[in-house]
């Protein structure tokens, strides 16, 4: 039987499904909900319930989607380097993720239920817009579960040779399905922020592809993709720290020290490009609606960006501190410790610039004493050119810490190593001058130049990372490896690994709240108004309490997950008289 026509027919049907407008509902506007359309349960309105469940689901989903990504890379590294330790570490990472997977699905189910109970009219409209695509999501979720279990449970059965490559391909499919699942869910979120494929009344006019591919979809996809990797790395790092602190043997300590180092590295790699992805998302928000952008960064929500700066500063300080402690693992690391105070100075200085607000919340008396709402000296540090400069210098400082740590374990043997070092030092010197220069340029030019000159700053930071890695890589070809004393790590360094997931979780809650709140009193921005009693932006204090509560809740869940994972590796010894 020839399959050609059948394949063509199936492809045509798939294309029709994706590209044609939903004719059944074309022309039907979005409903206009009234107060009666928002049920309360036990006197409770929908917002706190949905907020908590959605945030908890996002924390868990980000974690379980991220872990298989870097696990696949670690497993591949193990195959290519023929080092079995990578394989065992990759599997241990997966074990943590598996314990969290069922909880993710459980909370996701609870969220769906809550959405239909509390927001029936909104869900009715969204289902009408996305139509059959929700079934695609359900299918993807099913596939994700199948491939996740296949990938994890076939680990021992597919260990060597071609079978190992088959196992890696299972991991690849798992990640492809997981990423697609996230991209589909992101489309629902970005449709509510910046609807596309519908007219001004909300009537569907485009295909499902046009509805999905709104102006904010890809920026959010990239931002969440990178953030998930950083977040997943931070959480497994906390697991490694927990196991390191409770280790009873030197061997165990060494293993979990190495695991903690790898986790921190994953978190830093995911984190370094993250501010740039966030910047792209904000730029697209501004491009879509200046009003929405100003609500986020110039209105009530702007103060939350100051808290964000505190959290990012904490993350960078913790990640750097961990790397500095790690210099003690090799004999060669000690010679780099004199650089640490200078790196710390850049980090703390950048952090202080970043947390400086543009305008202050002041009493009339304070305004009079200050001579205005802005401080004469510190006020100029409150605008974006200063903050962009600070963040780029902080990222460069973090990269220096990483580079020093990397060099501590190797002795370059190439004859031109001295020249390579000179070129790298020159690269940093010119890059810093360029970043600072572009920042100053933003002060003497109109706003459009202020925004525009931040892009060369980003390009400069990325250039330093790429060129440094290339030159370092060439210099370290055939380098002598120093012995790394895994486990020779101060106990206090492990607490830095606990800071990372807590700060990340808090920040994700905070920024997620901002992303959702920029819609103000709209369910679907400019199309469907929120008529519920919760159609207002809560005060910063109330929002902070809600976010903190969910963060604490998630920490409790993750401690349970760690405990479960550890429980799985404990074997009760047989009572005396009974054979093992």
């Amino acid at each position: 039987m020839r399959r050609g026509p059948l394949v063509v027919l199936l492809l045509a049907l798939a294309a029709a499904f994706l590209l044609l407008p939903d004719l059944a509902f074309a022309g039907e506007p979005a409903p206009v909900p009234s107060r009666a359309d928002y049920p309360t349960v036990g006197g409770m309105t929908g917002r706190p319930v949905v907020w908590a469940l959605a945030q908890m689901h996002l924390f868990l989903a980000a974690f379980v989607l991220a872990v298989p990504m870097f696990v696949l890379v670690i497993e591949l590294t193990g195959v290519l380097s023929e080092d079995a330790r990578y394989d065992s570490m990759a599997r241990e990472f997966m074990r943590i993720s598996m314990a969290a997977y069922a909880l993710t699905a459980l909370v996701g189910g609870g969220l769906t239920l809550a959405l239909f109970v509390f927001y029936p009219v909104v869900m009715d409209y969204l289902l009408r817009v996305f139509d059959g695509q929700v079934l695609v999501y359900a299918l993807l979720f099913g596939l994700e579960s199948v491939f996740l279990y296949l990938y994890y449970y076939s680990w021992d059965a597919l260990r060597f040779g071609n079978r190992k490559w088959f196992h890696l391909s299972l991991g690849l499919v798992l990640n492809a399905v997981g990423s697609t699942l996230m991209f589909v869910a992101n489309a629902w979120v970005t449709f509510m922020m910046a609807p596309s494929g519908v007219d001004s009344t909300g009537a569907v006019t485009g295909s499902i592809w046009q509805i999905m591919r709104g102006p904010l979809w890809n920026p959010l996809n990239l931002h969440r993709f990178l953030a998930n990797i950083a977040y997943g790395g931070a959480i497994v790092g906390a697991y490694a720290a927990y196991r390191f602190l409770s280790a009873r043997t030197a061997e165990e300590r060494a293993h979990y020290d190495w695991m903690g180092y790898t986790s921190n590295l994953i978190a830093v790699i995911g984190f370094l490009p993250l501010p740039f992805a966030g910047y792209w998302l904000m730029a697209e928000i501004y491009a879509y609606s200046q009003q929405m952008g100003i609500t986020a960064m110039g209105g009530i929500l702007a103060w939350l960006f100051i808290i964000q700066a505190v959290l990012i500063g904490s993350i960078l300080l913790a990640a750097n501190y961990y790397l500095w402690c790690g210099l003690g693992r090799t004999e060669g690391g000690r010679r780099y410790t004199p650089f640490v105070p200078f790196i710390a100075l850049v980090l703390v200085g950048g952090f202080l610039v970043w947390v400086t607000p543009h305008t202050l919340i002041l009493t009339p008396e304070e305004v009079r004493m200050l001579g205005g709402t802005r401080h004469k000296v510190l006020g100029p540090l409150g605008i974006m050119p200063a903050k962009n400069t600070a963040v780029n210098l902080m990222l460069l400082a973090t990269f220096v810490s990483f580079q020093l740590f990397r060099r501590a374990g190797r002795i370059a043997t190439v004859r031109w190593a001295w020249a390579g070092n000179a070129v790298i030092v020159a690269l940093y010197a010119v890059a810093v001058a360029n970043i600072v220069g572009a920042g100053l340029y933003g002060y003497v030019t109109p706003t459009v130049y202020k925004v525009g000159s931040s892009v060369p700053q980003v390009a400069t930071t990325l250039s330093v990372i790429v060129f440094s890695l290339l030159i370092d890589g060439a210099m370290n070809r055939g380098a002598v490896r120093r012995e790394v004393h895994w486990g020779r790590m101060a106990v206090r360094s492990q607490y830095a690994l606990f800071v990372l997931p807590v700060a990340f979780t808090w920040m994700m809650g905070l920024m997620g709240y901002i992303r959702s709140s920029v819609r103000t009193n709209w369910h679907v921005y400019t199309i469907m108004k929120d008529a519920s009693p919760d159609a207002y932006i809560p005060t910063i204090g109330d929002a902070g309490n809600a976010i903190t509560l969910v963060t604490v809740g998630f920490m409790a869940v993750i401690i349970f997950v760690f405990w479960l994972t550890q429980l799985g590796s404990i074997k009760q010894p047989a009572p005396s008289g009974l054979a093992e």
Binding site: A431, N434, S463
Partner: protein, 42 residues
């Protein structure tokens, strides 16, 4: 030492040229002329 300083100075010039080129290209790419018009009319 002199050799090291020479390489360092040459590298400074090289990197300065590179960053100048990408700065200009990126600003031009955004439709923002750079150079003499440091303070263009608003």
């Amino acid at each position: 030492m002199a050799k090291r300083l020479t390489v360092f100075a040459l590298a400074l010039i090289l990197w300065a040229g590179y960053f100048y080129a990408i700065d200009r290209a990126i600003m031009h790419g955004q439709g923002l002329p750079v150079g003499a018009d440091l303070m263009p009319p608003a």
